[in-house]
């Protein structure tokens, strides 16, 4: 009786549309990519020829630019995640205090996330270009020695892009950590205060251990999104100068210029494998931590 009721009122076949849409328009391109990567498919022609592993051979013999892009992607992801979590913690500690304008500031830090990366990238291109606002400001206050070509230099470009991405996305980590701070038991802190613990000791012995799980979560989730990062880098530097900020997707875009599908497909297959493997390892660790705490 109960079973029949469930069958009538929660019909499983209503799930067909969502499964179909998700399979066809999200997952199937990854599988199709695997097939296309073995062919010479192109945007311009409809004929397809099987070429075996030729595209992969070409990719591996391409002077290692693809490996540089993988290395850069991980570098970006890790530094970005470290920065977002550390600065997110500092901002959360600040916003956890009572002061006028607290809510306004919180909302303001979250704004860039809503504005989307392209607008932000263009704004920061103006700020960081060689004759941009930052350098003009530095020379204006007599610090010309500090002016740099923030986005044009091989050494600095990557760090400049990471800094901008932290500026954009730190609001997310901040809100997450702030929520954790607000759930730290007040009694514990008050007890420690009565026992004469200094503010620093209270922070390191009570607050920090209580929010460690959240800091870990913020760090790991930021790494996953950093591994997928593309638009901010593309819009700011296109992967340049040289390959200084080349990540997997900027490399992919460049490989498409000839209209070929097969070769870019090989790149996206490897990209899929790298990101999925890394993300699965990361989720494994974050789940284990969560169940341990």
């Amino acid at each position: 009786m109960h079973h029949a009721y469930k069958k009538t009122y929660y019909p499983v076949y209503y799930l067909i549309p969502i499964l179909l849409i998700f399979t066809v328009f999200y997952l199937s391109p990854a599988l199709l990519g695997l097939l296309y990567s073995l062919t010479d498919a192109s945007i311009k022609t409809s004929g397809i020829r099987f070429v075996g592993l030729e595209n992969y051979r070409l990719l591996f013999s391409d002077g290692g630019a693809f490996f540089v892009s993988i290395w850069n992607q991980f570098k970006f992801a890790i530094l970005d995640a470290l920065g977002k979590t550390a600065i997110g913690l500092l901002l959360a500690l600040l916003l956890n205090r009572k002061f006028r304008g607290n809510h306004f500031l919180r909302a303001m830090i979250y704004v860039p996330i809503m504005f989307g990366t392209i607008m932000i990238a263009i704004i920061f291109n103006y700020i960081l270009s060689y004759d941009g606002f930052l350098n003009n400001l530095l020379s204006g206050i007599g610090l010309s020695a500090l002016t740099r070509d923030w986005l044009g230099s091989f050494e600095l470009a990557m760090y400049s892009v990471i800094a901008v991405d932290i500026w954009v996305g730190v609001g997310w980590s901040m809100l997450l950590i702030l929520a954790a701070l607000q759930s730290v038991q007040k009694e514990l802190i008050e007890c420690a205060e009565i026992d004469g613990a200094t503010p620093l000791a209270r922070f390191f012995h009570i607050t920090l251990p209580s929010i460690a799980g959240t800091l870990n979560l913020s760090f790991l989730l930021s790494i996953i999104s950093g591994l997928k990062a593309f638009d901010i880098i593309y819009a700011m530097t296109r992967g340049g100068p040289g390959h200084a900020t080349e990540v997997m997707s900027t490399f992919l875009v460049k490989s498409m210029s000839a209209g070929s599908i097969g070769y870019p497909a090989a790149i996206s297959v490897l990209q899929f494998i790298v990101i999925t493997t890394a993300a699965m390892i990361i989720s494994y660790f974050s789940n284990r931590r969560e169940s341990a705490s």
Partner: protein, 274 residues
């Protein structure tokens, strides 16, 4: 108040002021520059314009493709948002209420999209083959599919909190499954629907990757692509580009101010499960 705590309070305000400036200055620069003419805007500095010039804004509306980007963006964002709400709310409800091996599999399968990246390149060819590459249908379906994983997650956890007795009462009153859902359950989902609407709308409005890869025709570009293109067209007229950016940011700002509390609750929901 002791001297030490008073100093601590001033330090708090000082830190807050610094953070405020770090976030306010970039936007202030855009506003200031948007009011300068080409000559003045070339020297990028904090100097105020000698007089307020609104010509840049007029030019943006006259010759930029801003209206087209705006209407394309509105059309795609509204359509994807509506479809996401209907499809995901109903499906998450079925998945949560009917616990079988299949629905459990379906749930995990859909959530896989939060880890697996989307493969743009083969998608171009796929949409070509399906004849969906030259109109909005392809972009809309890909956008929709990309919204599914996170949205299913937030509806699923919300539906868990709605007692099954609500369903049973509806059944006793003679409702079928569709009516039960849309008359009884859906209204209860409103808080999470609001979160869904705000997050999906802004995500699609801001989307760059899908439009860049999947929309070959400039006539179909949405706002961010329009700005990106405009900036390349008028590389040296900073004032003009800044006016374009200021106009393009306005719709999102309005939505953010209106839906701020839903954004924060949605963000927390996502973070809990990741």
């Amino acid at each position: 108040m002791s001297a030490a705590s008073r100093m601590f309070k001033s330090l708090t305000y000082l830190a807050a002021l610094i953070v405020f400036l770090i976030y306010a200055i970039p936007f202030a620069l855009i506003l200031i520059t948007s009011l300068k003419d080409e000559q003045q805007s070339k020297i990028m500095n904090f100097a105020l314009p000698d007089q307020l010039r609104f010509e840049n804004y007029l030019t943006v509306f006259e010759q930029g493709d801003i209206w087209r980007g705006f209407s394309n963006g509105m059309f795609v964002s509204v359509t994807v948002t509506l479809l996401t709400v209907l499809l995901c709310a109903f499906s998450a409800f079925i998945i949560q209420r009917r616990r079988t091996a299949f629905t459990r599999f379906a749930y995990q399968f859909l959530l896989a999209g939060m880890v697996a990246p989307f493969s743009f390149i083969p998608a171009i060819k796929l949409l070509q083959t399906l004849h969906m590459g030259n109109n909005f249908s392809g972009l809309i379906m890909v956008d929709l599919a990309g919204q599914i994983p996170f949205t299913i997650l937030i509806y699923y956890s919300f539906v868990q909190g709605i007692p099954k007795e609500m369903d049973e009462a509806a059944v006793v009153d003679g409702c079928g499954p569709m009516r039960m859902f849309f008359r009884i359950i859906f209204p209860l989902l409103m808080p999470v629907v609001s979160t869904n609407v705000v997050l999906t709308f802004t995500a699609i409005w801001n989307d760059f990757g899908n439009v860049l890869f999947l929309v070959p025709k400039t006539a179909m570009w949405t706002m961010p692509m329009g700005v990106f293109n405009f900036q390349q067209l008028y590389t040296y007229n900073y004032g003009l580009v800044c006016a374009y950016i200021a106009v393009a940011l306005l719709p999102v700002l309005v939505i953010y101010l209106a839906g701020q509390k839903y954004i924060i609750s949605g963000m927390t929901a996502g973070a809990v499960k990741g």
